[in-house]
């Protein structure tokens, strides 16, 4: 890992105790927030993300008793605006006002740290490996992996610029932790809230439900069922029913509350917008060029089947059915990583914020991944991912800033290339859940494939 002779011991000592890691993660964010304040005050180029201005504007509307949706392009749950209410505080003291205004960034940065700490907890309680039955990891090792998230400059920059994705990180890790700790009610609450907050966490529901079998939840030990009817009754376990009810009640309860408070704009901006929007602006999605074309000529019917009109099929089939079915029971964290990866890769819109959605799972997956075992594979996967993304970014730059018409073939091919690289990586991640099993005991192949409920 390092060339210096004293570095390994220094590195080991760094992870030996919790304080150095969390302190440096916190310090990194404090420095970035303060640097951001300086840049915002002194440069016309702002450090603060546009989205943060949207959130805080919305919070100001709420503080005045108005709807957060009075702010154009506010497309989030009112909860976010409520959480950021302190940013709307005006004391009259400019220094204090700036501090209040930045409090949202502090919240997002704190969420990063909590997510990192939850990652460490999941790794050390040993519930992450092998579908929740892995051996607990040494705390120092766990922190080394948690550092992939905690000390990741990309993660720290995104949250200190004021993007709310960090909140999602903590929600998702908390959900995973609650599930692995078999705290079903908490998991249901988090799942319902997560879906209310950002929709996409609904993909985790089938994986969690599938994972929560009776055997795992220890509520019906030893009993084997064979008939279809009894298998069905075995499937509808108390834990699964409890999770479904709690998460559904949370989701519906929150939505009803928000609808009562803010009416139709809540539904329109938070949910319907994502269904009706025409995402013509170039992004990483393989469908982007096709969508631009068909949104401009909706009546053009040259092709029998337009792939983008059925785009949800491969996306949902993978992320909500096949991946949970095959992977969830073997390794829940890796299954959730693969689900998120598939969801983002096959989505009709894909921007770099989506990468953060799956990045949170990397510390849980990498310890057992073939990317780390096989350094050549790992580095070529990373290189390909970066290179294909770089190619796209270069084409995007020529379009956005130089005004060159790179839509075809440049951007289109680059997005397809990036998509295929992502699919290849996804294939390896999927393969890894089998590898971890077969590598430990290759003789168990036969018995395992017949080991059904």
């Amino acid at each position: 890992m390092s060339a210096g002779s004293s570095a390994p011991s220094l590195l080991t000592r760094f992870f030996q105790r919790a304080l150095p890691l969390y302190l440096s993660a916190a310090l990194l964010r404090v420095i970035l927030i303060i640097y951001g304040l300086w840049q915002d005050a002194n440069s016309p180029l702002k450090y603060t993300d546009i989205d943060y201005l949207v959130f805080t504007d919305a919070a100001r509307f709420v503080a005045r008793g108005q709807s957060p949706y009075d702010r154009e392009t506010y497309r989030y749950t009112p909860v976010l605006a409520w959480l950021l209410l302190p940013t709307a505080r005006i004391t009259g003291n400019p220094l204090l006002d700036t501090a209040w205004f930045s409090s949202g960034k502090v919240l997002f940065a704190a969420a990063d740290l909590v997510a990192g700490w939850l990652l460490e907890r999941i790794l050390t309680t040993g519930s992450s490996g092998n579908g929740g039955n892995g051996r607990p990891m040494r705390a120092a090792t766990a922190r080394k992996y948690a550092a992939i998230w905690l000390l990741n400059p990309m993660v720290a920059t995104i949250s200190t610029r004021g993007s709310s994705e960090g909140l999602l990180g903590v929600l998702v890790t908390a959900l995973l932790w609650a599930v692995l700790a078999r705290r079903v009610t908490l998991a249901g609450l988090l799942l319902g809230f997560g879906v209310h907050f950002k929709i996409y966490p609904f993909i985790y529901a089938p994986a969690i439900v599938w994972w929560m079998d009776r055997e795992r939840m220890r509520d019906d030990p030893g009993k084997r069922r064979t008939g279809l009817g009894s298998r069905l009754t075995a499937f509808v376990s108390p834990a699964r029913v409890q999770l479904a009810l709690v998460s559904l009640a949370t989701f519906l309860g929150l939505n009803t509350l928000m609808y009562l408070l803010y009416g139709a704009p809540f539904i329109t901006h938070t949910y319907l917008h994502h269904v009706t929007r025409i995402d013509h602006r170039h992004n990483f999605s393989p469908y982007n060029t096709q969508l631009y074309l068909t949104s401009a000529f909706p009546t053009l019917s040259s092709a029998l089947l337009r792939i983008e009109s059925v785009a949800f099929l491969p996306q949902l089939l993978l992320s909500c059915v096949l991946i949970p079915l095959v992977m969830a029971k073997k390794d829940l964290p890796t299954a959730m990583l693969a689900q998120t990866f598939a969801f983002a890769t096959f989505n009709k819109v894909c921007t770099s914020q989506y990468f953060l959605w799956y990045m949170i799972f990397l510390p849980l997956y990498l310890p057992r991944s073939s990317f780390l075992r096989n350094k050549t594979l790992g580095s070529s996967a990373l290189a390909l991912w970066v290179a294909s993304q770089g190619l796209w970014l270069q084409q995007g730059y020529e379009l956005e800033f130089l005004g060159k018409s790179t839509f075809l073939p440049g951007l289109w091919l680059a997005s397809l290339g990036f998509f295929l690289v992502n699919c290849w990586i996804l294939g390896i991640i999927i393969n890894d859940v089998a590898e971890t099993g077969t590598r430990v005991s290759s003789s168990s192949k036969k018995t395992v494939s017949f080991d059904l409920d």
């Binding site: 702002k46 092998n130 030990p221 030893g222 991946i323 029971k329 168990s444 192949k445």
Partner: protein, 502 residues
């Protein structure tokens, strides 16, 4: 029906009455350097088409202001300016579900050619009506280079086939710098005003027996008694068929539109990309009036292909770096994301206050206006060129307390920006000059999806998605076939379970 023809010369140029010949219904004189304005007032029942009468009768207020894209010099008192193109200010009648309003766009298309609106509700924007009741309710704008369709329509409606002079007069509109058509329910009259640029022209006019024609040959005047907020005019007035010789006149009046006596030009910074920046070059940063507080403003009517982001224009540091003070007004709504081809609204009107450098000595300066392009429809070749009209730029100065601006003979209201200022604001117009050529528009080359290369998009995307999908499914299948979907029970069996197995 009444007609007023005015030739306006510059300060110091004036004609002796002796060089003007008045004979019956004809007036003639020498060739002079002047701006010409023709104003025709028609009662509703004098309109040729009954359909048109009926339509106008049902609306409350309608003001069309067409401005030529060809740069022209304005002469006092005809100083007000607007961005080049077709402007419409409109207040519908009381009946909400008014069929006239709904057909307005079609009627306008029939008269002016390609007017790209659907209905006022979908295509127009609302003007703020909280400040002055005289503002109309709705606004529409689009670039429109030529009046040819209008001339064709007017000839068809107004001139008999044998009347060559009628046709010739309407053909003269091809040279016009602006055309105003105004109607309001209070006066019940349609006023059509055309102006021609400051150039050499012969004094010549005839009247017809059916209506009164008044001809003025005027020039700006600066008598000692002139108040600072007033314009002075002197010259010769003749009512054709009535007067046998021109009668000298001199008068002054308060005017809200003045000449700042400086110029500006604009161009887009290269490369324009998808976020073009319009650079405005000013000749001078010197305010036109020392007696009152003045600051320069730029009024844009941006077609829907391009827009300003009000959130980007909210940061003081950012604004200051571009020599801007603030975004004072933007018509609503402005969708910040939608592509051009799904938008029905005409675009947006934007008023920016600019921030000139505060130096004692007059010096040239620049301001930059950041704008954003919408995605345009795919096209063969991969590029589309859009035309962005020049803004109207003026110094807005506040006249002293108690100054009144009563209506004057050359008054022009409902310009879009006048209603955004208080009643004591005086607009000192800065003259727009083309950066190159003669037109007051800037072209932007917009990259679009190249239709010539698009035939493989559908198939190619489908193949790639299916390939990726198949690869992932195959991997999943391989895992399933080798180890099923259960957790690997051979490994890490729990102690409790181990006991049971034993």
């Amino acid at each position: 029906m009444r007609e007023r023809i005015t030739f306006v010369q510059k300060l110091g140029d004036s004609l002796e009455p002796s060089v003007i010949n008045v004979a019956g219904n004809l007036i003639s004189g020498p060739e002079i350097l002047a701006t010409r304005e023709d104003k025709v007032t028609l009662a509703l029942d004098e309109l040729p088409a009954a359909e048109l009468q009926d339509s106008l009768n049902r609306l409350h207020e309608l003001h069309i202001r067409w401005v030529s894209p060809v740069a022209y010099q304005a002469v006092s008192p005809l100083l007000s300016r607007l961005p080049p193109g077709f402007h419409l200010f409109f207040t519908p009648g009381k009946d909400d579900a008014d069929p006239v309003s709904n057909r307005l766009c079609q009627t306008l298309s029939a008269i002016f050619g390609n007017v790209n609106c659907s209905t006022p509700e979908e295509s127009f924007t609302s003007l703020p009506n909280d400040r002055f009741s005289h503002s109309s309710a709705l606004q529409y704008f689009q670039p429109l280079e030529s009046l040819s369709p209008f001339i064709h329509y007017a000839k068809d409606q107004l001139c008999s086939p044998s009347d060559a002079s009628c046709a010739a007069r309407l053909d003269g509109l091809t040279q016009a710098s602006s055309l105003d058509v105004s109607y309001d329910a209070i006066s019940h009259a349609l006023k059509v005003t055309a102006t021609w640029p400051y150039q050499l022209q012969t004094v010549h006019a005839t009247s017809r027996s059916q209506y009164r024609t008044e001809v003025g040959i005027l020039s700006a005047e600066k008598p000692a008694s002139l108040e600072p907020y007033e314009l002075g005019i002197s010259g010769l007035l003749t009512v054709l068929g009535q007067d046998s010789k021109p009668s000298p006149t001199m008068f002054s009046f308060a005017s809200r539109h003045r000449d700042a006596q400086s110029a500006f030009s604009t161009k887009f910074l290269k490369p324009t990309g998808l976020h073009p920046i319009l650079k405005i070059h000013f000749e001078s940063n010197k305010p036109p009036s020392d007696d009152s507080y003045c600051s320069p403003h730029a009024y844009f009517t941006l077609p829907r292909t391009i827009f300003a982001d009000k959130y980007q224009l909210a940061d003081d540091l950012f604004l200051a770096s571009k020599n801007l003070t603030a975004l004072r007004y933007s018509s609503q709504p402005v969708d910040l994301e939608a592509p051009e081809y799904v938008m029905k609204r005409w675009g947006s009107a934007v008023l920016l206050e600019l921030s000139p450098p505060a130096s004692e000595k007059a010096e040239p300066w620049t301001a930059e206006v950041p704008l954003h392009l919408r995605y345009l429809s795919p096209a063969a070749g991969g590029y589309e060129t859009i035309q962005v009209p020049y803004p109207a730029i003026f110094w807005a100065c506040t006249a002293e307390e108690g100054t009144k601006f009563p209506s004057n003979p050359f008054e022009r209201v409902n310009l879009g920006y006048d209603g955004l200022f208080g009643p004591r604001t005086v607009f000192w117009h800065v003259e727009p000059r083309p950066e190159a050529g003669s037109l007051l528009v800037n072209a932007v080359k917009v990259p679009v999806l190249d239709l010539n290369k698009s035939e493989w998009v559908n198939t190619g995307t489908a193949i790639a998605v299916l390939l990726g999908f198949a690869w992932v499914v195959w991997k999943l299948a391989a895992v399933y076939l080798s180890s099923g979907h259960e957790r690997d029970s051979s490994r890490a069996v729990k102690p409790s379970e181990r006991k049971k197995k034993q």
